[in-house]
């Protein structure tokens, strides 16, 4: 099968630091691919390179077999690739609804929308509220609250809800549950499975091994800026995975 999203020979350097060192990467249709690795291994750099947030120094990215050159996240979004970055990418002073619909606002129907270009605030707010409720983020008291007034976890929930609502081809989640509570994390995992059920493949970066092993179809182990191996969670234990990614144990061949 042809990977839906593929990276080959990706290199990204920051001054003296090599974040991606000739890295390959494959995501197959309909799967949940987990990416695991030490802090600083280059996981975020990898997904930034495939989602247009950084332009790799070398290497190519292929979407459905076509070579693509994303120069901004907007390019990737236009292709249906939606990403939750580790830094969340929210405008702190704007409201939750504003943030969720940033760059794809809904306009009122008819004259007011077409000619006056007026936004349909109530519809956007309603949708935002629904998405957050789906995630169980029920402690948010006011949908018009500025994002900067949310707790760390609430903020992350909003970002995940945004990606899930809009991704049509690939959804990338960089540590989506890092700041989430037990309940909210669980909802995100359920959401991930819902999304896969809709046929959309997902890349999930996470340090939470039980979560990874619960939902992933394949696990990409990242180490020192490159793909060390890809394993099937049914064939290996969490201990094995941790041992590979920390270098405690020799990794198997790339297969899986």
């Amino acid at each position: 099968m042809e990977p839906i999203l593929k990276g080959r020979g990706l290199v990204k350097r920051y001054g003296k630091v090599t974040a991606l060192d000739n890295c390959d990467f494959d995501l197959y249709p309909g799967e949940i691919l987990a990416v695991i690795g030490d802090n600083g291994a280059g996981k975020s750099s990898l997904i930034k390179a495939v989602s247009g947030a950084v332009i790799p120094d070398e290497g190519d990215v292929f979407l459905e077999g076509r070579k693509v050159k994303f120069t901004s996240p907007t390019d990737a979004r236009k292709e249906g690739i939606e990403t939750v970055y580790q830094t969340l990418a929210m405008s702190p002073a704007l409201s939750i609804a504003d943030n969720m619909f940033m760059g794809r606002e809904l306009r009122k129907p008819g004259f007011r929308g077409k000619i006056l270009r007026q936004l349909d605030r109530s519809r956007m707010e309603q949708i935002a509220r629904d998405k957050l409720t789906e995630l169980g983020l029920m402690t948010i008291q006011n949908i018009n609250q500025a994002v900067e007034t949310l707790s760390g976890g609430q903020r992350q929930g909003v970002a995940v809800a945004r990606a899930a609502a809009f991704g049509s081809k690939v959804i990338i989640l960089d540590e989506p549950t890092a700041a989430l509570g037990v309940k909210e994390s669980r909802r995100v995992l359920e959401l991930i499975q819902d999304v896969r059920a809709r046929g959309i493949p997902i890349i999930l970066i996470s340090h939470n091994m039980p979560h990874v092993f619960e939902v992933a179809d394949r696990i990409h182990v990242h180490r020192l800026g490159k793909r060390l191996c890809v394993i099937d969670p049914k064939d290996y234990t969490m201990s094995d995975a941790v041992a590979f990614m920390t270098g405690a144990k020799q990794a198997p061949d790339l297969a899986a």
Partner: protein, 355 residues
Amino acid sequence: MAGHADDYESVIKTTKSEDVAKFAAHRKGALSKLQHALHVNPALVPLFVLLASIAVFGLLLGSKFFSPFALTLILQQVQIVGIVAAAQSLVVLTAGIDLSVGAIMVLSSVVMGQFTFRYGLPVEVAIALGLVCGMICGYINGWLIAVMKLPPFIVTLGMWQIVLATNFLYSSNETIRAQDIEANAPLLQVFATKFNVGGAVFTVGVVFMVVLMLFLSYVLKQTAWGRHVYAVGDDPEAAQLSGVNVKGVLISVYVISGLICAFAGWALIGRIGSVSPTSGQLANIESITAVVIGGISLFGGRGSILGALFGALIVGVFTLGLRLAGADAQWTFLLIGALIIGAVAVDQWIRKVSA
């Protein structure tokens, strides 16, 4: 491999139908409501300062100040700064600053005048070219800032000097006299057209300022482009990552700012009658003052453009009020200086109380 022993997370699956948490509301009556209103709509704070200062000068000076003549005079005196402040507000909302506004305004007015009188172009064409001139200056600013990623302060500082020098070199410092304009190209003075509304005299320029502000306020609050302006000012990187065309927004903001400045140049001809290349030297500082007194954050992303209108009016009220009260020029400058600090302190204080 999902089987880790204590499946504590399963607890949650039973509790899906929870309601939004409700904390006990705490309300303290009228004052608390006012605070909340000010907090939700921060443009009200400068409006409040404005009304307070009108009241104070009204009490102090009586009918001299509190007459339709004096009050509409303030509107006429602030119209240019007010229009420029609209341009400045857009830029400041993107966390920029535009020091070249006054220079662009003057160059545009000189283009309108000289193209009519030096080259004999139809006045409509000359005016259109003046507006285009403003947009070009704005585009250069925007391109340098958005594409070359240079800091706005520097770009517009440089452009200020470049545009102003161009203006002097091109115009040879020649003024086009009001009488000539009146006779040959009255359209240039259209912003001075007066009309009477119940004893108060308004000019087209004043109406233009108010309508422009209301229009931009609508655009900023009710359109996607407006939200993007705020997002870019708030955190450009986040805006970029969440799909805003940051470059496009920045360039459009500076182009529109240039266009508004060119309109200000047209209004300036109406206000002073003539086309004078030495006008507008303080427009940048004055517009920034209005913007900040109006509660728009210089760090971008926060504030309402109507605040800038109120900010300009506050300065206008103080200036006229102090003059009528007999303060001489240096005392007026000193007190306006104190006002600037005081107005922002009040603003900050109200926001803090209501936070």
